[in-house]
Structures are given as structure tokens and as C-alpha cells.
């Protein structure tokens, strides 16, 4: 069974948006946790989240200051900003709406429920009181959809393109999350290093990987080891290495995959070059930026290879 290029593209985006919704919720939840643990003097600002998501131009079109209220409104409640959770959920839903015929019957119902939940609850969740519960609910509903898909979607093209979108988005968001820790983005100029373990722990928690880290690496949470673990650990499903290996496995059976495979190989080589112990905060931040550019290239060749095929 083959698949329409247009359907493959929508599934790919469905995979991306669903993962983006979940990872954005994880990002905000982690930061939300962190900020309560941090001494006031460290002056962590909420605007970091906007920078991580590359949403500064969009944000400052609408808001003057990057304070807690504005940033959270922008990320949790703004229906039309492309960086918000409701936006990601709406487009995940829209893509399911137009691919219902190739997905398990419950997909539409579940994604629709997620959409209804987010539209009803988002506005009330900007404040601290309901925020965490909202984020957890979004994460668990996203996981429910993913779980249902992974247990009932045949391993054909539908699964393949969904998964490509999902894995690529996850790699991208994971690298962004790590950028919180590189400090460059926090503009901390080396002070308050005592809070570093707190930051890295909350980042691991955001990836549901703190327990795995303790078992596989040890109880001490250190920047270099966390970075290696999250980028390079082949057994961790949220690590970048794991995602790229899975992408490779999904690409293999596809026709016309040569170009994409070459771009992917570049990414895997780049991944091997990460050596956090020899890198400054600035160098790390630059590395993450370059890596994200590489993932953007990967997206472009995937689009050119399968979604916009030449007319024969």
C-alpha cells in the first residue's frame, strides 16, 4: 500500500505538532518547577522560554515585557501564535481531520478531546494555580494519542511519516531544552553556579529521564554528563542519538531516500563531535544552534523527496 504525498505530508506535520504540544508543555512545566527553587537573586527571566522557541519577533509584536504573565499567556493561551500549545494542538487536529481515513478510528476522537480540553482550559491556566495541572494533562493526553497510535497503527507509510515528524520534532525540542542549561541563554555570566544541578535536574525531569540518568550514570547531576546523556545515549528514547537512529530506520524502506540519508549522516557525525568537557558555554550554545540548523535541513530534504514529487 502506497500513500498520497499530500497525506504523507499531513501525517508528518501531525507527528510534529503533537510532539511540539507535548514538548512545549514539558518545557514550561520544567521551567515552572525550576523557577520556584531558584534564589531570587539569580534572576531567571521567563523570556528565556521565548528565546528558546525562537519566538522573539512574534512575541514582541504583541507584548512589551517578557514577564511571567505575558510569556505564559503567549505560550499557553494564545490561540493564534505559532509558538503556543493551543496552536500546536489545533494543527495536530487539523491534520488528523484531513487524514482520518488512514488513522485508527479513535485518533480523531482523542485528538478532538485534547483540542476541546485545551480550548476550554488554556485561558484559566495562565495563573500559577492551575498551570501545572494543565500542563500535566496536556502531556498525558498527548501520550495517550501516541500510545494508541503505537499500539494500533499498522507499520506502513502512515506510521512511518507520522514517526518521522514526531522524531524530528522531538530532536529539535530536546536540543532547545538543553539550551536552557547552557547558561548562555540564561545570561548568568558564571555567577550562581550553585543552582546548576537544580537546572539540570529539572531539565532531565522535563524529559522524563531523571530516573534513567540516576540508574545509568549516577546520582550526581553534572552539566557535561547530562549533555552527553541527552544527546548521545543510544538507549534513551528521548535522546537525540536515539531519535536519529530511529529516523534512519524509518527512512530505510522508503523509495528515493538517498538525499535524506546523506543529510541524516551529517547529523549523526555532528552528534559524535559533541564533547561537553572541552566546550565553553558559548561554544555549547553555538553547537546547539548549528545542530538545529541541521535538523531544519533534514526537514527540507524530506519535504522535497516525498511531499513535493515532480510531475512525471
Amino acid at each position: 500500500m502506497t500513500m498520497l504525498s499530500s497525506v504523507a505530508e499531513r501525517l508528518y506535520w501531525m507527528g510534529r505538532y503533537l510532539e511540539r504540544a507535548e514538548d512545549s508543555a514539558r518545557l514550561v512545566a520544567a521551567y515552572n518547577h525550576l523557577i520556584m527553587d531558584i534564589p531570587r537573586a539569580a534572576e531567571l527571566g521567563w523570556d528565556v522560554l521565548i528565546r528558546i522557541l525562537d519566538a522573539e519577533p512574534l512575541f514582541y509584536q504583541q507584548y512589551r515585557v517578557g514577564n511571567e504573565q505575558n510569556v505564559l499567556r503567549f505560550l499557553l493561551a494564545e490561540q493564534d501564535s505559532s509558538a503556543s500549545i493551543p496552536f500546536a494542538v489545533r494543527w495536530a487536529r487539523e491534520n488528523v481531520r484531513t487524514t482520518r481515513d488512514v488513522l485508527p478510528e479513535e485518533t480523531w476522537e482523542q485528538i478532538n478531546e485534547l483540542h476541546l480540553y485545551v480550548s476550554d482550559a488554556a485561558e484559566k491556566s495562565v495563573g500559577r494555580r492551575n498551570r501545572q495541572a494543565f500542563l500535566e494533562e496536556v502531556i498525558s493526553r498527548c501520550q495517550r494519542v501516541n500510545g494508541m497510535l503505537s499500539s494500533s497503527l499498522p507499520r506502513d507509510h502512515a506510521h512511518r511519516f507520522l514517526r518521522l515528524g514526531h522524531l524530528l520534532e522531538r530532536s529539535d525540542m530536546t536540543t532547545r531544552l538543553m539550551d536552557v542549561g547552557t547558561g548562555e541563554i540564561l545570561k548568568r555570566d558564571g555567577t550562581h553556579e550553585a543552582i546548576d544541578p537544580l537546572i539540570w535536574t529539572s531539565l532531565l525531569q522535563a524529559l522524563s529521564s531523571f530516573g534513567a540518568y540516576r540508574r545509568m550514570i549516577g546520582p550526581l547531576v553534572e552539566a557535561q554528563q547530562v549533555l552527553e546523556f541527552v544527546f548521545q545515549e543510544p538507549l534513551l528514547p528521548r535522546s537525540v542519538a536515539f531519535c536519529l537512529a530511529e529516523i534512519r530506520a524509518e527512512l530505510k524502506p522508503l523509495n528515493n531516500h538517498e538525499k535524506v540519508m546523506r543529510t541524516l549522516a551529517r547529523g549523526r557525525r555532528k552528534l559524535g563531535k559533541l564533547q561537553p568537557e572541552h566546550m565553553s558555554r558559548e561554544a555549547l550554545h553555538a553547537y546547539i544552534d548549528e545542530f538545529q540548523a541541521l535538523l531544519a535541513d533534514l526537514h527540507d530534504v524530506i519535504t522535497a523527496s516525498w511531499f513535493q514529487p515532480d510531475t512525471p
Binding site: 498520497l4 504525498s5 499530500s6 481531520r97 484531513t98 478532538n112 523509495n255 514529487p309 510531475t311
Partner: protein, 482 residues
């Protein structure tokens, strides 16, 4: 008795569930008894559950207005409409007969035109109709069938007799709502199913698949079938997706398809072009192929008619089928049945005056306040005048329209449409309804058990279209006595 039912009276119309004496009809006894026995607020609770289910299942339809397209939740009434299987059998036989005759007619018109030569149907009304497509002359689709999916609208008059009101042969819609209505009832009134033997409806997608597969020009175990939709903004998009999924077929838009130099249709896939055998067309033929019809259409596929005429792809319904879907032609269907099948029509239709005939026109103009006047060519309930509900100004306007273009108007007596108990606000009240069954024809013919019941939610209204404030009901064909 539940409070909401207490003041129910069937009134002067034929009521589907309640006799004039206020007793439930035999087939409906179980449903009515159970609903009447529901304690206190339960009617309202069940309705809320249905609304929630509709929201969760994402059953919607799109309404167009000045403000743009609005996706609305599907309006559903929880009280099912019940028809006995014995009664339905006769209707079903009549529909099958009608569909056979209509297809004979279309095939005849695009080939020998015998029925015109024999003077049974006047040639000019067929050949001058905008629904007659000269591009289709000489085509002879498989089994001589053109209209593979037909949705006929039925009403019941004052005696409870079923009559055909019109036949929709172009791109009839609504079948997915028939299926979803049953799903909703199963969720919100599961106990109703305990004591009934209700004919299932969920077979439809596989019946449709078999009908379409039988048309494939290539002999293959699984022909490549696609559902061609105008896209997400079409009011019936929900249904297009639903049926594609039900059949395991691809849901495509025009840009997903192309016609290559070999006059075959291909779809663009991640593995390159793949040949298509059967297209279930849910886009008007006018927009189907810019080469053959409207050149400005962006929805269609250039060369589709070429491929169809070369016999390389089947299209359902075939282009040109609309020639039999015209309110003037409607008046001749009983004659077609006698002419092609040598049978007596099994299903009553509605007496129709054709304004193109001088005598008929005189009668219509004299009795405008009692008749329903319809344009020959519109669907969706647009452009209709219901005489008894009209103002003198509207009647004057229609008189003028008729005089200007008599071919385009027909008139029928205002029917005393049947009613059924419908839950409005906190009371059960009678509302008028119709029924749209679907008839499939390919190698075999098949009729849905029941169909989509549409109900006019406004008191006294006869307009059942969902775009104009209509709702719907689950329709049960029940065996034996409950």
C-alpha cells in the same frame, strides 16, 4: 409518565410513532414506553449525553454565510423514528425499481434516445436541460449504470403512505450521518436495543466498496478506489473522509490526481504515480475537469473526461447522471418504469404540474397559495415557495418567475407531511420529517435499511435541510413486534 411527554398530541397529521388515539404504534411501542417511563430529568440528561457524544465524535457539518464557514455540531434528536420491516420491504422494492428505471433512462439518453423517439418523454425538455451533458454522448459505462449512488427523498402523506419527493443522482450526501446517528443512539439509549431486532446500518461502507469495486476497468483483487473531494471547506467533507476510511480508499483532492499521456488517471504518492481504477466523485461534474467543463475550475483534474471516455477509469456517479435529476424529469419516472421495465410503479410519487405545459401553468398560477413551487434545478431546499406559508408579494414574484421561465418551474400539492415526537426544549412535540434512503447500483442493487431522517425543528415548518435549521433522527427498521 415522564413530564415532557404529557401534553403530546399527534395533531391532524400522520404521526410516525403515536396513533390519533394517543397510543404508540405497534413497531414503536417499546421505544415510546421506555422513554415515557424515564424518571424526571432523564430526557434532558440523555440529550446532553448525545450532544457530548457528537462533540467528542467530532460530527459536524459546515454552514456557509457572510461571516465565513462555520463548523457546526450535528443537530440530532434522541427519539428514534421506527418503521416496521414489513412496511419497509415494500418501500425498498419500489426504490430498487426506480433506480433501475432511472439508469435505463440515462443510458438511453446518451445513446439511442429511444424514449424520446417514442415520445414518452418530450425530447426538448431533456436535450435543452442544463443537466444534459453532450460531452457524454456515446458512453456506455459498465452494466449500463450511471447513477451508482442515488439518494431519494421520501415523505409520508396524511394516510402514512410513502411517496418519493425527488431523486438525487448527482452527489447525494448524508449517509455518514445516518451511520453516526445509530452510533449516538447506541451510546445514549443502550437499553432501547435490548428488546428490539433492529436492522443494522453499518454495512454501508462495505456495500459501497463492493459497488465501486464492481466498476473497475481492470480485473484486480483490490482495485484502486479513491474518493474525490473538493476539500476541507466543502460542507460534506466530514462524510467524504468518513466514507474513504470506511472503504479503506484514498481520500483525494484534484491536485492529488493527474491524467498522463496514456489517458490513465494516476495519484501522486510517496512511491511515485499509482494508477487509479475507480473514482467516487463527490465534486460536481461542472468542476471535475477544466478541459471538458469549466476551464477556471481549480478543484478538478485536467483530462479526467478523456480517461473516462477511453474506459481507463470508472467514475461514480458517472458525469451526465444529473440529466435524470431534474424536477421536470421527475414527473416522468412512472412512465419510465412502465416503458423500460414493463412494470407498474411500486412506489407512489407526488402529482406534479409542469409549468411548461400551458394547462398546468394556468392551474399553478391560479392556485399559487395552495401549491409548493420548485425550481427544476436547485437542491438543498433553495428557491422553493410553500404556497400556504407565503405572502402575496412572494406569490407575485413567483408568478413572474414562472411566466418568464416556465420550463424551470414545477408545482406540487402541499403535502401533509408526517410528524414524529421530537424533544424540543423540555417538551416532546410533533415535528415534520422526511427520509433519505440510499440506493447503490453496480453489478447488484442494494438499498439502505432505513436512511437518514431529517426533521424540521421549527414548529410547523416543512423545511428539513440542515443548512436551514433542520435536525435529524436515528431511523429504525424493526423486525417482528416489540
Amino acid at each position: 409518565m415522564n413530564e415532557s411527554w404529557k401534553s403530546y398530541t399527534a395533531g391532524s397529521f400522520f404521526d410516525e410513532l403515536i396513533t390519533p388515539k394517543g397510543q404508540p404504534r405497534a413497531a414503536a411501542r417499546g421505544v415510546v414506553r421506555l422513554l415515557q417511563k424515564l424518571p424526571g430529568d432523564e430526557m434532558a440528561e440523555r440529550r446532553a449525553a448525545a450532544e457530548l457524544a457528537i462533540r467528542e465524535m467530532g460530527i459536524s457539518f459546515t454552514v456557509y454565510n457572510e461571516a465565513g464557514n462555520i463548523d457546526r455540531a450535528w443537530p440530532f434528536d434522541i427519539i428514534p423514528r421506527v418503521i416496521s420491516a414489513g412496511q419497509w420491504q415494500a418501500v425498498s422494492d419500489g426504490l430498487r425499481q426506480r433506480s433501475l428505471a432511472l439508469n435505463h433512462f440515462i443510458d438511453d439518453i446518451y445513446n439511442r434516445q429511444k424514449i424520446l423517439a417514442d415520445g414518452v418523454v418530450p425530447a426538448d425538455i431533456v436535450l435543452e436541460s442544463t443537466n444534459f451533458k453532450p460531452q457524454c454522448m456515446g458512453m456506455s459505462p459498465r452494466f449500463g449504470v450511471w447513477a451508482h449512488v442515488c439518494g431519494s427523498d421520501l415523505v409520508r402523506d396524511g394516510d402514512g403512505r410513502f411517496r418519493v419527493l425527488e431523486d438525487n443522482l448527482r452527489v447525494p450526501s448524508g449517509v455518514s450521518y445516518m451511520l453516526e446517528n445509530r452510533e449516538i443512539t447506541k451510546r445514549v439509549l443502550p437499553e432501547l436495543f435490548e428488546n428490539y431486532s433492529i436492522l443494522p446500518v453499518d454495512d454501508y461502507p462495505s456495500q459501497l466498496y463492493q459497488t465501486l469495486a464492481s466498476l473497475s476497468p481492470r480485473e484486480r483483487r483490490r482495485p484502486c478506489i479513491v474518493v474525490l473531494t473538493p476539500g476541507i471547506f466543502n460542507s460534506a467533507y466530514f462524510e467524504h473522509a468518513y466514507l474513504a476510511q470506511g472503504m479503506g480508499a484514498e481520500l483525494v483532492e484534484g491536485r492529488d490526481l493527474m491524467v498522463a499521456d496514456d489517458n490513465c488517471v494516476y495519484m501522486r504518492t510517496v512511491d511515485g504515480p499509482v494508477r487509479v481504477d475507480v473514482i467516487y466523485r463527490r465534486i460536481d461534474e461542472e468542476f471535475m475537469d477544466p478541459e471538458a467543463f469549466r476551464p477556471e475550475s481549480l478543484l478538478g483534474v485536467a483530462g479526467l473526461m478523456r480517461a473516462w471516455k477511453a474506459g481507463n477509469v470508472a467514475i461514480a456517479n458517472a458525469p451526465g447522471s444529473g440529466v435524470a435529476d431534474d424536477k421536470v424529469i421527475y414527473a416522468f419516472v412512472p412512465d419510465m418504469i412502465r416503458y423500460y421495465l414493463k412494470q407498474k410503479p411500486l412506489l407512489a410519487s407526488v402529482p406534479t404540474w409542469l409549468c411548461m405545459r400551458e394547462k398546468d401553468r394556468e392551474h399553478v398560477l391560479k392556485n399559487l397559495d395552495q401549491l409548493v413551487v420548485k425550481p427544476a434545478n436547485e437542491s438543498g431546499g433553495y428557491g422553493i415557495m410553500v404556497g400556504p406559508h407565503s405572502t402575496a408579494a412572494v406569490r407575485r414574484k413567483f408568478a413572474r418567475l414562472i411566466e418568464e421561465n416556465p420550463r424551470n418551474y414545477v408545482a406540487q400539492p402541499t403535502l401533509a407531511l408526517s410528524t414524529a415526537p421530537t424533544y424540543i426544549d423540555d417538551k416532546v412535540e410533533p415535528r415534520h420529517l422526511d427520509l433519505r434512503p440510499f440506493i447503490l447500483q453496480g453489478r447488484d442493487t442494494w438499498v439502505t435499511p432505513g436512511g437518514l431522517t431529517r426533521v424540521a425543528l421549527t414548529k410547523g415548518s416543512l423545511v428539513v435541510n440542515s443548512s436551514q435549521g433542520g435536525g435529524s433522527k436515528d431511523t429504525w427498521i424493526v423486525e417482528g413486534k416489540a
